[in-house]
Amino acid sequence: MGDDRHLLIGRANGHLFRREDKSESYVVIPPAHLITDSDGGMWTFGFKYDGYGEINVLRNDMDTGEFAARIEYRRGQVRIYGKAGWRVFSRSRRHFI
């Protein structure tokens, strides 16, 4: 049997995750493990470090090319914080600005 069409489905750490809803605002990784965005993108950290204590940021297990100390979901936007300050995932879903 297939999944309901309304489910948000993505991958994190090698596993398929299903959620009814996107994450609440102000969910922060860590201490959360996972943020679900409105497209079903599953955000979490990978296992690479950059030497500043920051960890690589994954969306659906794809490396975004960014390192951060925390990932936050706020008002429908994914934000990351690191040595470059706060950056926001673009509306185009392609990069952080």
Binding site: N13, G14, R19, V27, P30, P31, H33, I35, F47
Partner: protein, 163 residues
Amino acid sequence: MAGGYSLAAGGITLANQAVTLVFVNPIASPNLDLEFRRFWINQSNNMASVNLRYQINTQVTAFPTLVSQTPAKLAIADAASIITGNTTGAAGTCGINASAEGAGTKTIIWADSFNTTNGALLVLTPEEIIEMAAGAASGLGLHLPVAPGTLTNWAFGCTWTEG
């Protein structure tokens, strides 16, 4: 220093009881010590938002009865872990998803709770890294002290370095 290793699992169905999710017991001395860097718990097919407690604790013998699982290397170039998969939780072994907790006393060294839609990720700062020395009398476990409302599709794990 040897490399980094993970003991992780997904899609796991837990017993309807308090359960140790991962358990790693240092090897007999003299050998490498284990430095635990990260722990995580999540549920991959979760539609209910509830809070759940978790603990990181040490446990002396008798150890939990586990499902054997071999640690994975985080870098292909590294040597294999000195820890091997086993069901007994004995020194130098590790496993997941305990079916019996064992009579050994647990000592809580970290306790928190998490929302099951968000999961829990604990990244220890350098000052907080949990070190389990070779020859220690106890192993280290990631533990749910209360059975979760939904028992299926759990994902969890931990990472450590050996040095």
